[in-house]
């Protein structure tokens, strides 16, 4: 029973992390920007949805409006920060520092506006328990996290491979110089990428706090794990990032069967280091 429950919990956590990983990967692959402020957009989405729900907006409407706000925030960061730095031909390090600064500002503004306390969605249905087979229990919030995450994963794959804009973005990611001379307008493509990634990351940004509550500084840990998932999955592979996020979450959960909890994260990342020694390009590198 314990193993099964841990397995299910790992899937829930992994799916949410997977969406953070694929959205981060989408930005990094196309723009080559280590978009740390993505954690701020993730956090912002949850707070906007919480604020709207508190004012009586139905949950679905609150999520939709939160996505709109996150898209606007992503566009703002890209157009007013990254694009400006790119125009000045600043180094990757400068862009990274600017992104870190943006994250710090967002976290502090959120803490100032919404208080730094742990806030909960006042939605009793979210914490109601669903009894699955084998004595496994999940809350509706967890179930919704899995469904929404899988939908977001499938949606991003479809967007990247089946739509004209998606193909244009992949072309820009593949060869920015060629994209520039063939009038694919990389800068506009970067703006679209940031908007799409911000919309996608907003979903786990709302679903995870639905279960665990909101805290202004909680976006960094998922982003760190998601970054590792992206690298382990192979930079450029959306599927790789998602699968590796689930694998990491499962390793962290299932390792509890054999080792004490305090060693869980350390052992998991030790396995990751060993893995990277033997396959440094990532698991799905060939499938870019």
């Amino acid at each position: 029973m314990l193993a099964l429950q841990l397995l299910c919990n790992g899937i829930v956590t992994g799916c949410a992390l997977g969406v953070v990983a694929i959205s981060f990967s989408f930005v990094y692959t196309t723009t080559k920007i280590f978009h740390v402020a993505h954690a701020g957009v993730y956090t912002l989405g949850g707070y906007i949805a919480w604020w709207l729900v508190k004012r009586g907006v139905p949950f679905v409407g609150a999520v939709a409006l939160a996505v709109v706000v996150c898209v606007a925030m992503g566009a703002l960061i890209q157009s007013q920060l990254y694009a400006q730095l790119e125009r000045r031909r600043e180094t990757h390090l400068v862009v990274l520092i600017a992104s870190l600064g943006t994250l710090a500002v967002m976290q502090n503004v959120i803490a100032a506006v919404f208080t730094p306390n742990i806030l909960r969605f006042d939605l009793p249905w979210a914490s109601q328990v669903v009894h699955l087979g084998g004595n496994v229990r999940l809350t509706w919030a967890q179930m919704l996290t899995v469904v929404v995450s899988l939908a977001a994963f499938a949606g991003l794959l479809w967007f990247a491979h089946r739509t004209l804009l998606g193909k244009r973005i992949r072309a820009v990611a593949s060869n920015p110089f060629l994209a520039e001379i063939t009038r694919l307008e990389p800068r506009t493509a970067h703006l679209y990428v940031m908007m799409v990634a911000s919309a996608v990351v907003c979903l786990p940004g709302v679903m995870v706090p639905l279960d665990f509550g909101l805290q202004p500084y909680n976006g960094v840990t998922p982003l760190l794990t998601a970054t590792i998932a992206m690298i382990a999955g192979g930079v450029g592979s959306i599927t790789g990032a998602f699968v590796m996020a689930v694998v990491i979450a499962e390793l962290q959960n299932l390792s509890l069967l054999f080792i004490p909890g305090e060693w869980s994260i350390g052992i998991t990342f030790f396995i990751f280091v060993i893995f990277m020694l033997f396959r440094p390009t990532g698991l799905f590198a060939a499938g870019r």
Partner: protein, 392 residues
């Protein structure tokens, strides 16, 4: 034309220095000195009558902010009440609040700023990690620190300048372990936070629970500020304990809800850390047992607090209100004894007074107060006292 002569005289002062002139000058110098002394006394008394500045290094943002804000309000409320009545012997109290986010490194930087730059003689603190980090500095710089919220055992001996108005976790765990043994809850597991307070609680459970006849079957850690307790709760449930002893300081409500969602039926036990209004009110905490330092606020005081802040005067607000009263009583006695307000004098006076009657009668036999402890059970959204004991 003596005046003219005097003006023309190249060495007038030498010539004028007869006995009378000397006397006049001496009188003038004397007057001047007296005037200067008078001005100095007036100035000094004005300074003393203006403000006594005290510091408070609390977590006002971050996961500990809910408790830190309550602590800040408790201090503010007590200080404002005294200031409204004219202060302590005419001296107004000014509190300087600083946010440490419950981080030890941040606390040390703020401590140095308040002591070295602003020369504060006394600082209120909270949370074990930050308080332990500042304790050696308090000893070295002879600054009185008053802790009304942290409970790690090491706090009892961390510094002669650190005063704890709460018993240590060890004192509470001893009482709790005896109660659990009496209730035949002898198979236990521990959920603890990887922080100074959490680890101290874990160590105390491991030490005192077996002494009372219990057996520790499992221990699971969590991180400070973490809100996903499911993996740890599942692991603990797998050990099939009768009671889970908890030593975490943040995310208690999330822990309770996840405990319920997983369908657990073991008893959950804790210490004063469970004094969380949201936790007590939530149905998920039904049946939780905990020790509790008894500290009640008179209804009119609680009503005035609620009118001012729009929030109940919870445990930590009451605790820091009481701590402020202890400090103000100490300041009053120090001034009455004609001593300047320094950390050294405040400490000496506090131990000279020894017994305080505020919201709660307490005595400082050591640096850590002896107080009355209740055993409470959460029932129907309220904390119900089922037994009473003392911390020592």
């Amino acid at each position: 034309m003596p005046a003219r002569q005097a003006r023309l005289d190249p060495v007038p002062t030498l010539r004028k220095f007869g006995a009378n002139e000397k006397g006049n000058v001496m009188i003038r110098v004397g007057h001047l000195a007296l005037a200067m002394v008078a001005v100095a006394i007036t100035f000094a008394s004005q300074v003393r009558a203006e403000t006594i500045r005290l510091g408070a290094i609390l977590p006002l943002t971050g996961p500990g902010a809910l408790i830190g804000t309550a602590q800040m309000r408790g201090l503010q409320f007590a200080a404002e009440a005294v200031n409204a009545k004219g202060g302590i012997r005419g001296n107004q109290i000014e509190l300087i609040f600083e946010d440490n986010q419950a981080k030890p490194d941040q606390s040390v930087i703020i401590f140095n700023k308040l002591v070295d730059l602003q020369h504060l003689p006394m600082i209120f603190t909270a949370y074990s990690g930050p308080t332990l980090a500042m304790a050696p500095l308090a000893t070295r710089k002879k600054v009185l620190m008053v802790n009304g919220g942290a409970q790690a055992d090491k706090l009892a001996t961390a510094s002669p300048y650190l005063i704890n108005t709460l018993p240590t976790i060890g004192d509470e765990v001893k009482v709790l372990a005896k109660y659990l043994a009496k209730k035949q809850l002898t198979r236990g597991a521990i959920l603890f936070e990887n922080s100074a307070a959490g680890i101290a609680g874990r160590d105390d459970y491991v030490k005192f629970y077996p002494e009372s006849g219990g057996t520790v079957l499992a221990q699971e850690p969590t991180q400070f500020g973490q809100t996903d307790f499911r993996p740890a709760l599942l692991k603990i449930a797998d050990a099939k304990p009768q009671v889970m002893m908890v030593s975490i300081t943040a995310g208690l409500l999330q822990m309770a809800q996840q405990y319920k969602q997983l369908g657990n039926d073991f008893v959950v036990a804790g210490t004063t850390f469970f004094a969380d209004a949201e936790l007590i009110a939530d149905p998920a905490s039904e049946g939780f047992v905990h020790t509790q330092v008894r500290i009640d606020a008179p209804p009119e005081l609680a009503a005035a607090f609620k009118a001012k802040y729009g929030a109940d005067m919870d445990f930590f607000a009451r605790q820091y209100y009481n701590a402020m009263q202890i400090v103000m009583t100490t300041i009053d006695k120090t001034l009455a004894d004609g001593k300047p307000i320094t950390g050294e004098n405040l400490r000496e006076t506090l131990f000279a007074i020894r017994s305080f009657k505020g919201l709660i009668p307490l005595e400082f036999k050591t640096n850590t107060a002896s107080v009355q402890l209740d055993i409470n059970v959460m029932k129907g959204g309220k904390d119900v006292t089922v037994e009473q004991m003392t911390s020592d």
